[in-house]
């Protein structure tokens, strides 16, 4: 197992403490992104400390997904810097940033639709242990792989999906046919399997029913403190319940940032954003 994997597990284990004084895990400085005349990211700076759950809220079209895209590397910023674990990463490609510990969940879950949930998690494990160029060993009978995949599924409560039916037969269902909530959980599980330092979650509650929603909130709560999390979410109630810190993005510009209590009472936020609801 590589040195990097050890580093990462250390980061996970030590995540439970309050680290407000520590160096940030992720730091975004003066990021700018334009599409023609439209400025979707306008001098945005923000940071996420280890173990912190930092929520990013804002109306539709505020540029939240674009910001996440620039952090993961799917979009190239026009100006500004992205630092992750003390290293400048804005010139790196998506996979390289991911390998440094950035894991992402998408608004619409992105899965390997034809593979079973277990195999989905196994691919994440293959990615983590860099065994993609093993040409001969069967993935399905690789015990180490199966254990890791199972553990990842269990962690999000997805162990049941792949279980044998009452008659004892095994019907592995392709991930593409899972229920929406399960797809989202599976995507999270795959994020964990790569033992990341940080999770970027793009609206994990969107489209979930009340039961699934509650399960997801409790899962997020359990993750809090162990990973740095940047959470984009529309469900304001959930955000205020979960977040250590909240930043408000309106029209590509960060108009406020701070602890939940401060944001709730911030007059600019109330007029610009929460006002719509109130």
């Amino acid at each position: 197992m590589s040195m990097q994997a050890l580093d990462q597990s250390e980061a996970v284990q030590t995540g439970a403490y309050d680290r407000s004084g520590e160096a940030p895990l992720l730091e975004v400085r003066n990021l700018v992104k334009r599409f023609g005349a439209l400025v979707v990211t306008d001098q945005v700076s923000l940071s996420v400390r280890p173990g912190e759950l930092h929520a990013l809220i804002g109306p539709n079209g505020a540029g939240k997904s674009c910001l996440i895209g620039q952090i993961t590397g799917e979009l190239r910023p026009d100006a500004g810097e992205v630092h992750f674990r003390g290293e400048r990463v804005d010139a790196l490609a998506v996979p390289e940033r991911a390998r440094r510990g950035l894991a992402r969940a998408y608004q619409v879950p992105r899965l390997f639709g034809s593979l079973t949930p277990e195999a989905n998690a196994a691919v994440a494990e293959i990615s983590r242990q860099r065994s993609g160029f093993r040409f001969w060993r069967r993935a399905s009978t690789d015990r180490a792989l199966a254990i890791a995949a199972r553990a990842a599924l269990d962690r999000v409560g997805l162990g049941r999906v792949d279980a044998p039916d009452p008659a004892g037969r095994h019907h592995p269902r392709p991930a593409g046919l899972l229920a929406h909530g399960d797809k989202r959980l599976l995507e999270l599980a795959m994020g964990f399997a790569s033992e990341p330092a940080m999770l970027l979650l793009d609206e994990p509650l969107a489209g979930l029913g009340p039961a699934d929603s509650a399960a997801m909130v409790s899962l997020l709560r359990s993750l809090k403190g162990r990973y740095g999390i940047l959470l984009v979410e529309h469900d304001v109630e959930a955000v205020f319940a979960l977040a250590d810190r909240i930043s408000v993005l309106v029209g590509g510009r960060l108009i406020a940032s701070g602890p939940a209590a401060l944001i709730r009472t911030d007059p600019r936020v109330r007029t610009a954003y929460l006002g719509e609801d109130a």
């Binding site: 639709g113 034809s114 392709p174 593409g176």
Partner: protein
């Protein structure tokens, strides 16, 4: 202009789409049945075929030509000549009853080999004749020789098969590629051409034909150009011809490119300004309909054309016209000749073709009356024959025909005979 925005779904489906509506599945079931049947039949054929008995009482003649695919024009014309020969032979080959097993070479060398395997191994033919293109021949001679069967070629003859790779099993009853054009170089020089522009399709036969046209030409060759096989627009080449200052062009373009070349030559207004020469491949009866009047005046050389004057040919052409409504192309004439050659050889050995030494000797004698006039085989079993110069002309009824201008080469062998080890 508006760049169109498009959906960017590259959907690779996984093979787990469930069957939808019941009406469809009924169709599916029948298609399924059909596919399964094909699967079973195509493999079971292997078992069924073994029971086939042999019938040595009559001769089994294999006839293989390009009956499908882009060059099937040639195969179809060969078949016409072949069929007319069957009529004239009255169901007997050298006095012996015979059976024809037909194959389709598809103008594709590998398909040719496969089809030959069917004729040789499964249908157990005694003699094979046909083939339409040079590349088919290159691929075909080896398996035929290995099977120790005689093959009588009906069209074309690449240099390698006349020279280094000549085979005692291969008799070319048509022409070695260079023979179609033998003597044309001297003829063009005599006709007053000072600067000659040579061009042809970029494949082996194209090189051989244009190379042959160069022989004996005393003037200046200003260019020797080749165009890719699929090219059908010759505007750029015609421009270069004009710019080269050539006063004569020799162009080798069989089939569709030939039609295109002649039409475009005409449209560029070069008819009558620059003399256009070729061999029979460029302008012959199968393309007369498509070339129409644009072909008038083109001078082509040939080892066979409908206007050759001898009793055998008069009968052949007359019956061909009666049956198909136009003059035979050389493909038909040479196919007819091949059959007559086989007929004569079988007659000479009194049907005992199993005596291969005698049968080979009989084939070499070529004791038949050819529609093309004088014909005999050289030591390499390629023809020794005349090459005629003809010009596309018009009859009073508007139809085109080839008028003989002169004889370019008389009783001439091919140039590669000395490279062949056969004596």
């Amino acid at each position: 202009m508006h760049p169109m925005v498009r959906r960017s779904a590259f959907a690779m489906r996984v093979a787990t789409v469930p069957a939808a509506c019941p009406a469809r599945s009924a169709i599916k079931a029948s298609v399924a049945a059909a596919f399964t049947a094909i699967l079973v039949v195509s493999t079971a054929l292997g078992v069924a075929g073994t029971a086939r008995a042999q019938a040595p009482a009559s001769i089994r003649l294999g006839f293989i030509a390009a009956m499908s695919g882009p060059l099937s024009v040639v195969g179809a014309e060969q078949k016409r000549g072949f069929d007319l020969a069957l009529d004239h032979l009255g169901g007997k080959l050298g006095g012996i009853p015979f059976e024809v097993i037909q194959g389709d070479s598809k103008a594709n060398p590998t398909a040719t080999v496969q089809e030959l395997s069917r004729l040789i191994d499964k249908d157990r033919v005694d003699i094979i004749t046909g083939l339409s293109t040079s590349n088919e021949l290159v691929a075909a001679i080896k398996p035929i020789s290995d099977a120790r069967l005689f093959f009588i070629g009906m069209n074309g003859g690449p240099a390698v098969l006349a020279g280094e790779q000549c085979s005692p099993w291969y008799f070319n009853a048509s022409f070695q590629n260079g023979q179609l054009t033998a003597g044309m170089g001297a003829y063009m020089a005599k006709a007053g051409v000072k600067k000659l522009y040579l061009m042809g399709m970029d494949y082996e036969a194209g090189h051989e034909h244009t190379e042959a046209a160069k022989k004996g030409f005393t003037g200046e060759v200003v260019a020797h150009a080749f165009t890719p096989i699929p090219q059908v627009d010759f505007a750029a080449d015609i421009a270069r011809i004009r710019a080269s200052g050539a006063d004569g062009v020799f162009a080798f373009y069989p089939g569709a490119p030939g039609i295109a070349f002649v039409r475009q030559w005409n449209q560029a207004g070069l008819n009558g300004k620059i003399a256009l020469f070729s061999n029979i491949a460029l302008s012959e009866p199968t393309v007369f309909q498509a070339q129409g009047k644009t072909a008038l005046g083109i001078v082509v050389s040939a080892n066979y054309f409908a206007g050759i004057d001898n009793p055998r040919n008069r009968r052949f052409v007359q019956d061909f016209r009666a049956k198909f409504g136009r003059d035979p192309a050389s493909y038909a004439g040479l196919a007819y000749d091949s059959m007559m050659l086989i007929d004569a050889a079988v007659r000479e050995v009194k049907g005992n073709i199993r005596d291969q030494t005698a049968f080979r000797a009989a084939l070499r004698h070529a004791n038949f009356e050819s529609v093309r006039g004088p014909f005999r085989f050289n030591a390499n079993q390629q023809p020794i024959q005349n090459t005629y110069v003809t010009q596309v002309d018009q009859r009073p009824d508007g139809s085109l025909w080839l008028r003989q201008l002169s004889v370019a080469a008389e009783n001439a062998p091919d140039e590669f005979a000395s490279r062949c080890s056969m004596k």
